[in-house]
């Protein structure tokens, strides 16, 4: 269950690709048409880590860390791969198609084990779908983000949303630089833990639901006690709704088996490798998203 413990390594890793991979990996770079404002990224089979960074450059740059071109048996014996996912048209295990408004980047099946580092203009919107075992890091985007990950952990940070995020089996660590106020943000998880940081002055309506696990926060939420909906608290789910700083856009967090932690941005606890212990415990000690820390929900009230 202690999946969050992997995260420090993941964070460290995230600092490397920009430098490390650029030096060694195979690179593919292009400038999309002016009308393009969206990137769709799909990996249906990948074992590497994927790092997506928003930049203020115009081009899209992809670096494959250790992609090995498969031996071209196909053409030698006259057989062609039956995978409809697409053919490698980049030389680094990806198919890239450009339409009027969007660019589609799709991993071909044998891109499986490579790490990819992808730089995309930060105002683009993103639709990311990854069904592999690697970890995913997405950072520095100003547009809408949709992410669905099936296995690895995902860190998504320095974004403003709106964000629609899902992880099936991994942890999901999300930090907002600000929260976009016009369309809702929704984050769901099946088995992993979900840790979301937002600026403490964010105005939002909150909806948090966890079927089998805990919800914890160190934000000052005005919990909603006047429920119009007679079902919501009676169907065996643990639902909390409330208002933050007078209310605003909807942020909904839902999980089945993992914990949900909603915290103030800037509170680094749990995200960075833990420094040697200072003599005094930090103030919001329970919010540290180590699953070992799991206590009962009433701590949310303690924190307020």
């Amino acid at each position: 269950m202690n999946k969050l413990k992997k995260l420090p390594t993941l964070i460290l890793f995230s600092l490397l690709p920009a430098v490390g991979l650029a030096a060694e990996g195979a690179k593919h770079s292009f400038i999309p048409a002016d009308t393009v404002h969206e990137v769709q990224l799909t990996f249906v089979e990948s074992y590497g880590d994927i790092f997506i960074d928003g930049t203020d450059a115009k081009e899209i740059t992809i670096i494959a860390d250790d992609y090995e071109q498969p031996e071209d048996e196909d053409e030698a014996d006259g057989f062609v791969s039956v995978f409809s996912i697409g053919r490698d048209n980049t030389g680094i295990g990806l198919t890239i198609e450009e339409n009027e408004n969007s660019v589609k980047i799709t991993g071909v099946p044998n891109s499986a084990s490579s790490d990819y580092s992808i730089r995309i203009p930060h105002h683009f919107s993103l639709k990311v779908n990854i069904m592999g075992n690697g970890d995913t890091i997405i950072q520095n985007f100003k547009g809408e983000i949709e992410v669905a990950v099936a296995e690895g952990d995902a860190v998504i940070r320095n974004i403003s949303g709106p964000a629609t995020l899902h992880n099936m089996n991994g942890d999901l660590v999300v930090s907002f630089s600000e929260v976009f106020q016009e369309a809702p943000t929704s984050i769901t998880n099946l088995n992993g833990d979900t840790v979301v940081s937002i600026p403490p002055d964010t105005q939002a309506n909150l909806q948090m639901k966890s079927l089998n696990s805990d919800i914890r926060t160190n934000l000052n939420i005005a919990y909603d006690t006047d429920k119009r909906d007679p079902y919501r608290h009676n169907i065996g789910q643990r639902t909390v709704t409330g208002v933050l700083n007078g209310g605003g856009v909807l942020i909904s967090l839902e999980s089945i088996n993992g914990d949900i932690v909603l915290k103030k941005a800037g509170d680094k606890s749990g995200l960075a490798p833990r420094p040697p212990k200072p003599p005094k415990p930090p103030k919001v000690k329970r919010i540290r998203p180590s699953i070992d820390d799991v206590e009962e929900v009433e701590e949310v009230e303690e924190l307020n």
Partner: protein, 276 residues
């Protein structure tokens, strides 16, 4: 002397960590002291090995025994030994995870009663006195606004952005009634949207109307159409919550199917036990 202190410090670094980093002074000491370095290496290996020991799963007997013990305890009259409920719990936290079917049935009954009473209230209000013109206008205006919102919601549910679709689905939170168009739109999101968060939002929206027969039927019908485990689990949870026995069949099918994920089977199995 110093080594002893360093050595203690090194062990303490592992409290709740899998790969602690060494503080500068310890690192410096290790640079000079071979025996401490060796100790650190051994400690790291050992901790890693300890962490790698896998958990052994108990037999299913344990769970069975636990739940039958729990059932017995629930059936037994409250042992008067302890103090009575002296705490006022904040309402918001008062949920009953895994409410048994009895509790859920009761909730349903209460909900029905509540809705019934709301309706009677409005009847009592509107029938005896003829309305003033202003009140009638207001009412018709409100009606217009609601149907406008409804149109907007239906329209917006087709948008490309998942966030906007969720927003559209959320508009139904403000609506007192579920019109046929809106119902159809929500149902389509529930069953066909390719984003699981949108599906889930639609399920939550429909849950508010789970007292309506057409909604219940649609929810039962939706279960076999869902392929994402999150949707399967949340739907089963709702079916148990509203004591919808027609869901037994699709639940049984999920249980029998070889491709159903374990979490879902678990939920279905427990659900079947509750939906008797």
């Amino acid at each position: 002397m110093k080594c002893e202190k360093i050595s203690r410090q090194m062990t303490a670094l592992w409290e709740n960590s899998q790969e602690p980093s060494l503080p500068e002074d310890v690192r410096r000491h290790l640079g000079q002291c071979e025996s401490c370095r060796e100790e650190w290496e051994q400690l790291s290996v050992l901790m890693a090995e300890l962490d790698a020991v896998e958990e052994v799963q108990p037999s299913t007997r344990l769970r069975e025994n636990f739940y039958s013990m729990l059932d017995n305890a629930k059936a037994a009259p409250e042992s008067g030994s302890g103090p009575k409920n002296t705490l006022i719990e904040p309402t918001i936290w008062k949920f009953t995870p895994w409410a048994g079917s009895i509790a859920a049935g009761l909730a349903l009954l209460l909900a029905g009663f509540w809705i019934g009473s709301q309706q009677t209230d409005s009847l009592v209000e509107s029938v005896p006195q003829p309305k003033t013109v202003a009140a009638q206008e207001l009412e018709s205006l409100q009606g217009q606004i609601e149907s406008m919102k409804e149109m907007m919601a239906v329209y917006m549910m087709e948008q490309r952005s998942a966030s906007k679709r969720i927003q559209a689905v959320g508009y139904t939170d403000e609506m007192s009634k579920l019109s046929p168009d809106l119902f159809e739109a929500l149902r389509q999101r529930l069953n066909q949207d390719d984003n699981v968060n949108v599906r889930l939002a639609s399920l939550n929206a429909l849950t508010r109307f789970a007292h309506q027969e057409n909604v219940r039927a649609a929810l039962v019908d939706s279960l076999p159409r869902q392929i994402h485990p999150v949707m399967q689990i949340m739907l089963i949870d709702l079916m148990v919550g509203i004591d919808e026995k027609r869901a037994r069949e699709p639940m049984q099918q999920l249980l029998n199917s070889a491709i159903t994920p374990l979490e879902v089977k678990d939920k279905a199995l427990r659900g079947l036990g509750q939906l008797l």
